[in-house]
Symmetry: C4
Subunit: 273 residues, 4 copies
Amino acid sequence: MKKPSLRHRLHEIIYEADTPAGKVFDIVLLILIVLSVVLVMLESVSSIGLAYAALLNQLEWGITIVFSLEYIARILVVKKPWKYITSFFGIIDLLSLLPKYISFFFMGSGSLVALRALRLLRVFRILKLSRYIGESNFLMTALWASRVKIGVFLFAVIILCIIFGTIMYLVEGEANGFTSIPRGIYWCIVTLTTVGYGDIAPMTSLGRFIASIIMILGYGIIAVPTGIVTSEMTQQHKNPDTNTQACPSCMNETHLDDAVYCHNCGNQLNETT
Amino acid sequence: MKKPSLRHRLHEIIYEADTPAGKVFDIVLLILIVLSVVLVMLESVSSIGLAYAALLNQLEWGITIVFSLEYIARILVVKKPWKYITSFFGIIDLLSLLPKYISFFFMGSGSLVALRALRLLRVFRILKLSRYIGESNFLMTALWASRVKIGVFLFAVIILCIIFGTIMYLVEGEANGFTSIPRGIYWCIVTLTTVGYGDIAPMTSLGRFIASIIMILGYGIIAVPTGIVTSEMTQQHKNPDTNTQACPSCMNETHLDDAVYCHNCGNQLNETT
Amino acid sequence: MKKPSLRHRLHEIIYEADTPAGKVFDIVLLILIVLSVVLVMLESVSSIGLAYAALLNQLEWGITIVFSLEYIARILVVKKPWKYITSFFGIIDLLSLLPKYISFFFMGSGSLVALRALRLLRVFRILKLSRYIGESNFLMTALWASRVKIGVFLFAVIILCIIFGTIMYLVEGEANGFTSIPRGIYWCIVTLTTVGYGDIAPMTSLGRFIASIIMILGYGIIAVPTGIVTSEMTQQHKNPDTNTQACPSCMNETHLDDAVYCHNCGNQLNETT
Amino acid sequence: MKKPSLRHRLHEIIYEADTPAGKVFDIVLLILIVLSVVLVMLESVSSIGLAYAALLNQLEWGITIVFSLEYIARILVVKKPWKYITSFFGIIDLLSLLPKYISFFFMGSGSLVALRALRLLRVFRILKLSRYIGESNFLMTALWASRVKIGVFLFAVIILCIIFGTIMYLVEGEANGFTSIPRGIYWCIVTLTTVGYGDIAPMTSLGRFIASIIMILGYGIIAVPTGIVTSEMTQQHKNPDTNTQACPSCMNETHLDDAVYCHNCGNQLNETT
């Protein structure tokens, strides 16, 4: 048996999380990602950003260099580098490096904060941690299975908001903060979703009456997405539990996961993995 | 086989979405509807409405003429024109045309915004898109099946709001914004539905104590509509379980998954896979 | 067969809703109750209360006299008058009459609005309408079956609010509106239940961080009462559907409600009522 | 049969709730705990705290002495005193006594309110009341079984808030209250959880558009934790269905309701009623 090459070993460390070295790599990367996110946040707080500007800058450079090395390593190690570079995470990886290097040439380019914000997308990497995959798959499958229903529901909500927003614009008028239909719709979304900022609130009696209807509607309507997702999840919950094996004698298919004998005819069931 | 008449073909295009031409027609109409809704919105934003008044007016005329042609085509093509004209969508179609023509004769009639708002109702048309029908039927059936329960619940909520609104009016008084019982009820709905604008908020200790009770009540009560709709949906989800086989003798279709004999006529059911 | 006495007939009309006359009586009473509630509301709106004082007073007298006659009739007709008088509805009925008569002797006694508010409790009468009983029983049974669980949950919520409210009082201090622990608790309830008035809001960074935790907690915790009620309702939903009859031959108990033959052995099932 | 020693009897009274004396002890303790919590609250209300300072101080001393005696009794009575002292409730018990004694030596040490707040944790004691244990176990098991799913969900919510908070910081800017990324994230949590204080609210059109998306997202996302907990609870509700019979041969207790043979050892199960 050939000893695995360095490139193969590096591939294992960087792209997989099964080996101890791979796990350490993932955790170090995770910490660096969180640290870089915290740095971006602290920099935005003006009092901290000004007082510790030099320190933050140095830390930022350190993280950027480590991420640069990681990016180069990923390209060198993978078999199809171009596929990685053009993948979602490849683009994110690159975009999380660029802002710092660009800022080296163009000082004070504040709009690059936007680009730097993309570094946050690296956070999604940790979703790869294997132990959660089974569970998040469960969530994703439930949401995916009910996507059309949720789509219909959201569509109905938006139509409701457009109609009620227009009505409130007509009823309340510009004097009470409903200066345009889009603002009326914005207010209606704020109300229907039970957020309720209070920056715009109805002032007339009729407006308050309509607002009450919208609120009760929003209070009742929230049951719909909940019902959709819950019934989908209950469905999925039920399936894995039984139905995994059929009795070879009577074809009964409702066996518990750990059943050894058929509960219907008493015959032994096939071995399960 | 006779070639279908022009009228028959037009009927297929306008009223059905199964043929390619019918789909194109539906999509073009959908885009026009969305565009006309956006136009109404933009017009209401005073800065845009004034600057681009002429352009908006021209676009509005264009859409109105297209909708007029569609309206006439629908009347000509359908077998019972009067039935269409007096139908819900027939009235909506007409109402979405009238405001523009009326505005031609009576300039500056601002209250016609109300009529123009009806054009938004045309948006409901897209609900006809066939692929969503199965799913929205599912939602509608679940909501319809639980209509009495939801009615009882909403009725209880309104009674609660009337009682607590009156109590708060007595406790807080006019000095703290609770100027009348209807306003107290409005505040109670805002609180119970967890919207919470904050335009009216209790100021006295007793008022805040009662408000806390209302909030916790509202927080707990939201479980009720959710429970109703969810259990109804789970129920419907399960029903397909009983619909997989039809009795070869009496055609009854509601059999349990493990049924061997028809529960209606006693005949043996076909083997299931 | 003896002709029923007038008293017996009146009893049927007043206390039951099965006969046409009883239904009419209930509906007339319902309308009067709603009307009297609306009158109380309108009176509280100062602009209306002053302008139409005389009219409102006359209508109020009219309703009070009708309710007085109803009260007397109920006492005369019922077999055990004292039991009615001391019952919940008997007390409500009396309390809804008294304020007007008292106001006749003591003019301008504003605090009687409180007593008049009790008239609202008459609204609960309509819950007696027979057709809703089956459904509201369903709700009540589900809520009653989960009362201990909901009690434990509400208890946990209140403890959480006391602890977090005290912490916020310590963190934010009196300068930021958290003038006492009760107010901190009030703020915490407002936040945890996702009402969020905004009359008191955290100002310090630490306070906002804790507030964020409370909000996410409240957002997640709402799943608990919903889960309790939903699983209870789903449970109840399931029971009536099957299990109502057992096959006299094979004792199988999972039959659909309308099953005539056993789906397991093909034997005929017993007649159901 | 030996008469139980005083120490044994005291142990029964203090640590158990099965005997009448034990129940009385628990209830008295419960009342004292609630009273001490109310005292801490009242003291914090400046108007009451100043007017009744002497009375509150005396009551506080009374409760502290009773709790001290209880603490000493608990140590003397229990077999392994050190285990109790270092246990969660042992530390809480001690911490609820210390502040008052410390305040005796160091007058006016306001920060001890923090320590005194720990006395609130004594409230958790009542969770020991035996009758609720079965029910709260149910809740705990459901929450514990779905801890990974809820963890993944909360993680996704936090990532969403970081990303949208940063975007809103860029879009709205410091002029509209979004003075830093952490504040943007705070605002995003307030919005996504549908709390909506309104202390920070978007002012620009683009900001309001993004806010609308966040609100609808938050309105829809709330279905996920609800779905998780509900399906878990429904699952647990259902398990008793499989627990009604035990195999007479292997004692396995997880049989489906209609099982005839044990799915574990193939033996025939007992007839069920």
